[in-house]
Symmetry: C2
Subunit: 398 residues, 2 copies
């Protein structure tokens, strides 16, 4: 385990910057059993910041494994009533919500029937949770990682949890003397980039590199955003630590061309996709190839009507603290912040003008990295003129 | 940790004998984070026995410590709405309920304000839980122990969790070749003792030994019970593993004399009471002395109107598997099964004829041991004749 001091500093960063927790707010925390030392530090920091009550739910993938292996079909997707009560309380009281990633058992579901694994989720609670978080926007939420031995084994091939803590601490700027101030600067820098992109009002973004020649059309109401979200109460918070991206919601009907993923990614905790190549026509993914995991991607794309169209386009430059670690984390919170990426599946309202419609609708959302030093990224104006945004991985748009 | 095989055997014993889990029943499990290996084995055994769904709630005394240290007064006793929804679901569906004792942090609340520690409980949920479990009797419930390092440290002065597993395994008969069959024999033997006591229809029980000369009056509707409870659906189950007692509900107005505790006990997780001496008049405790912890006992007795009267009288003989371990476990599930004991506080309906009233009413229930090799126990008939029940710790009533 890391030092008490590191846990305390991380907990304070999460509470102050990630959640921007308000006096009198309840905090709902979801985490794994193996993360209890950080959980306790976060509970302390939350109360010191004025939390009314901290409500911790520890989940256990190995209990979930038994459920998938044994429970009746209709039980797999079932939501226990108490979970809905907890969500509605969170919504009614405008509570804060924190999730710790870092699955200690990435292979927990190995050997189980893939269809049952995919169906085993509290469907009604997941739907309601998405509504509350992304549409009602009553909740200041944050996702951060807490290293575990199992996650470290997945990343390094050995359970070197100390090394994983070092990488995570660097990625979230805990190695700065004043991490809270460092985040303030970082958020301002990302916001400035989003501002420049918004002033340009690009009609499309192009990606060109080895195996990639892709044009992603934007909507008239597409807006570039970064780092911070805001609740209906005007509370600004940073929902992902780390975050290195500026992102927008593309036109779901106007992506054309071919794209090759520049990094492996893990669309499900126990699945790795390598060498993905997609072809788009009029916004739809019409061809899927991969060195590994193509069947899982095809399964996701067929899962509902909107799954085969893009819901997100995000730009990340070569200075990214995650990118410079040159590590595959098998955790979207980290991997998506290593390089430019797109996501097939649902769109976030933050990528559109306030109140605007038009983003893609779907049940899932899967990010994968398509940028890097070899991929040029350009903005295309309404008149067809192209302007360089990223060259050799560096941000060149002024 | 113990072997996979021991965990599997223990899990099967808990599911088959303790809960007697029925096909299609939900199982609600409450436990500590540090007990996850046994929890996973129990989830597996429960599904194999036909459970519909296993719902695990991991609690964390070190998060609770932060709540006690920081939360507002009114939050300490507050019940989150989701917890009531979970209880009502359990009641509506006649689910099974399992609790694991073995607190890994017995000193979690050290140094905190004692009044706030005592008030920090989900009051409404606790009240409703008692109603459901003891009065509505819709739920087959069971309490069993799972050793943790913190509990072992408390018992032995060192975190020898392997040794604690050995003692627990002996106490719950896991060292028998067929523990389920051994429990069937044991339950039959305890039931036979209860049957003999019921046929005698004693009017009172006396305890005589060093520092003890106590007469506990019984009610006309007092009934001796042992080992098994029964739900409203007729499901018979064993709510405590281990259990070595035959018990009854005394007349709350008819205890007279003095009694000296024969073992230390822990009325709260972080409190030990040693050398307790009580004097009773007309059922009320009117004098409290102790070498250690008298103030805690006095605090409990003053907490409500009924707290100073007896709610339980239980007989345990010298063959008790817990008693022969000659160990203070600081866990009532074990310590009360080491020797004859009484409890101040509320009475259980199982100690009365079905549907009868008259047992003591209170919010708390604290057992402490008053018997042993030096204490004679006799039954007193309606005509005043006395019959020996325990001599030198051995059961002598035929």
């Amino acid at each position: 385990m890391p030092s008490e001091d590191l846990l305390r500093r991380y907990a304070e960063l999460v509470v102050r910057v990630g959640l921007n927790l308000g006096e009198g707010q309840d905090l709902h925390l979801g985490c794994f059993v193996e993360q209890s030392p950080l959980v306790r530090a976060i509970a302390k920091a939350a109360y010191e910041a004025g939390a009314r009550r901290v409500d911790v739910f520890y989940s256990d993938p190995l209990v979930q494994r038994e459920t998938i292996a044994h429970a009746a079909d209709e039980v797999l997707e079932w939501t226990p009533p108490w979970l809905l009560t907890r969500l509605e309380y969170m919504n009614d009281r405008h509570a804060a919500l924190l999730g710790l990633s870092g699955n200690p058992y990435p292979d927990a579901f190995a050997g189980l029937d893939g269809d049952r694994v995919a169906r085993a989720r509290t469907k009604e609670a997941n739907r309601r949770s998405m509504e509350i978080v992304f549409h009602e926007q009553t909740v200041n939420w944050c996702g951060v990682a807490c290293p575990t031995e199992g996650w470290a084994e997945r990343v390094f091939g050995e359970p070197n949890v100390e090394r994983l803590w070092e990488l995570v601490a660097h990625a979230v700027r805990l190695d700065e003397s004043d991490p809270v101030a460092a985040w303030s600067d970082h958020v301002a820098r990302l916001n400035a980039r989003a501002q420049v992109l918004n002033e340009r009002r690009f009609d499309a973004i192009t990606f060109r590199g080895p195996g990639t020649d892709l044009k992603v059309g934007l909507l008239p109401v597409s807006r570039w955003a970064a780092a911070e979200h805001e609740t209906v109460d005007g509370r600004r918070y940073v929902p992902n630590l780390p975050t290195e991206e500026v992102f927008t919601t593309p036109d779901p009907a106007r992506t054309e061309g071919v794209v090759r993923a520049t990094r492996p990614f893990a669309p499900l905790p126990s699945v790795v996709v390598e060498g993905l190549e997609l072809r788009f026509e009029a916004g739809r993914i019409v061809e899927v190839r991969a060195e590994r995991g193509a069947d899982v991607v095809r399964g996701q794309l067929e899962s509902d009507e909107g799954a085969c169209r893009l819901g997100e386009l995000a730009l990340v430059d070569g200075d990214s603290r995650v990118g410079e670690l040159d590590t595959i984390f098998y955790d979207v919170l980290f991997d998506e912040n290593a390089a430019p990426h797109i996501a097939y599946g649902f769109a976030l309202p933050e990528g559109l003008e306030p109140g605007a419609d038009g983003g893609n609708q779907a049940e899932t959302h899967t990010d994968f990295m398509i940028g890097g030093a070899e991929v040029d990224v350009d903005g295309v104006g309404a008149d067809g003129t192209e302007v360089a945004i990223l060259r050799g991985g560096d941000w060149v748009l002024a």
